[in-house]
Symmetry: C2
Subunit: 343 residues, 2 copies
């Protein structure tokens, strides 16, 4: 953080500092860049439950159910991190909670494909060594994020798809479910609407869950899990399992998890681009995230959560809403849905 | 080019230029960076046929066969570009030639999976708008690069896998082949060796074909096609169809196609990282490619071909060999296999 702050000071400000060196830190009116003002943290976590058109015209019970589910996952992650857990363990366990909820488009609550099936994708990445694991199109795995982690740790490869990924899951002995486990009436109705070519809520079309973490050991980790896109066909793969598009972690820079219109995130290599802007342009985490989400993507495409090596958290989206939460070692703990929610 | 050259001049050189402004351009002894010395071109093309351990201890006939196949593909691309063809058409047609050859690990010459099948991956990307198409795990498509292009142009998605991709191919009416079409004795023998856990030639394990192009209209395009990795399992996906890992094109920066150990290329987002170093660090194409191949990857991982917006060509690899070729509007035309071949 210090280095970034220093390199971003303009020459007049530097001269001012030299001339007026005093025991007091400069007043905030001297306008340091936003990333310099962010407190560093010993650990930090951000989660998301999908971005899209999220109508405010919903009943209080619906809102509270989503806030409660985000809080439950965030609390688990916060407690684990506070006790010194490894970032990858936190990412996996937090995402499992979100996958087990019927509210989000991942695991239990996954949307239906054109053929009326549920095909799940997930990815996880370790910022220490850029190791990663990804799966696409599994139909019987209860917690895809755990399978992605096994791809990372138990195979020489990083990306398995469909029947092959199922066979790998079988060999690993991960928990399986009957495909009916994923049946959620609301998701089924969304497919019927899509098949009828009625207008469909963006939030029902996309949606994803994700978690990014800085742990006490200074390691970054990221994970993302999704049921994909309602009415998808042809074994469509979105950005989630595409490392560098929807998921990325690198201790030197940032951990990122994205949510939104997957194709746009693939074309723009969103997650890796945030990292590259930090590494090569010297930007702070928030500025890098904002440049990509607001500068390269189009309004409504989605958003991302990011945690930097110093514990800076950014939750940036260009859609009307993004289910999200953030906590850190400085006592921050909050969940939000729309742009103007507390963050 | 001019901009890059200027920003890379050190202060003393700038002062020298100011003091000694003369009608003659500065002599090359003032050591401009290598990328500034590269001639710009109206069109440029580079191709590869895979990187790896390529023994020099092979007979002249084998070498000549590979050089001839590379020359044939390169000549087609050169002629098309000279006549003003669109970059994407060149990439597709050149890669089709390489796919139809039994010599390279793509199309006809694809390696065998653990189960004795041939599962093909390909990707293509349009530098004008970052549109792209990718497929993985098709078993009956004669020319996967053409299917990837149809994914890009005829669907709202960018990435289809396995049976889904086959169904899409069916709907598009692309040329199909019987799986036996891909039988090449040498590839079959390689699988048997791998199954016997004998040491296997790296060149037999990986290998890929690719093409990057700058066309007369100033557009960049990239494509890559592969049979994957001998003895692969679990529906393994490598870097080729992962946009930003094995394939990337952006008119603002560069077109890149990679070949080598796919997992390493995914973890390091190699193709997009070359672009990011050009865009954010202001590097030339060659320097950006060298930083990634020699600075981030390990010896033996593989290589890449790249063409920049000014027609600069880089063909960089850290393995003992890479089948490759390059041509441009300034009359360059060459093919090579090992590090010290003419380039």
């Amino acid at each position: 953080m210090t280095k970034l702050w220093t390199t971003k000071l303009s020459l007049p400000v530097l001269l001012f500092l030299s001339a007026c060196a005093a025991p007091e830190p400069p007043a905030t009116e001297t306008a340091p860049p936003p990333e310099a003002a962010a407190p560093t943290a010993e650990w930090a976590i951000a989660i998301h439950g999908g971005a899209g058109v999220i109508s405010r015209d919903v009943d209080e019970e619906w809102k509270q159910a989503h806030r409660d589910a985000l809080s439950e996952a965030l609390t688990l992650g916060k407690d684990m991190l506070d006790e010194g857990a490894e970032g990858l363990d936190v990412v996996e366990q937090v995402i499992r909670v979100l996958e087990d909820s019927p509210l989000f488009n991942a695991g239990k609550g996954s949307v239906f494909t054109h053929d009326g099936k549920n095909e799940l994708d997930a990815a996880i990445m370790d910022g220490r060594d850029l190791n990663c694991g990804a799966i696409s199109g599994v139909t019987r795995v209860k917690n895809p994020i755990s399978l992605a982690r096994l791809v990372m740790t138990e195979s020489r490869h990083v990306f398995f798809v469909r029947e092959g990924a199922e066979r790998f899951a079988e060999e690993m002995g991960v928990e399986k479910v009957d495909p009916e486990y994923y049946f959620v009436q609301r998701r089924w109705d969304a497919l019927q609407k899509a098949l009828d070519k009625e207008k469909q809520e963006e939030a029902e079309k996309h949606g994803t869950v994700g978690c990014v973490v800085l742990d006490r050991a200074g390691n970054l980790a990221a994970g993302t899990s999704t049921g994909g896109m309602t009415n998808k066909r042809f074994g469509r793969v979105g950005d989630v399992p595409v490392i560098g598009a929807g998921t990325y972690a690198n201790n030197a820079t940032v951990a990122v998890s994205c949510t939104g219109w997957g194709e746009k995130f693939i074309r723009n290599n969103v997650a890796h681009d945030v990292s590259a802007r930090i590494e090569y342009k010297g930007l702070g985490v928030r500025q890098a995230a904002e440049e990509v989400i607001h500068g390269k993507l189009d309004e409504g495409d989605g958003g991302l959560i990011a945690v930097g090596a110093g514990g800076e958290i950014a939750m940036v989206f260009n859609s009307s809403g993004m289910f999200r939460g953030a906590a850190d070692s400085n006592g921050r703990f909050e969940v939000g849905i729309w742009q103007d929610d507390d963050e």
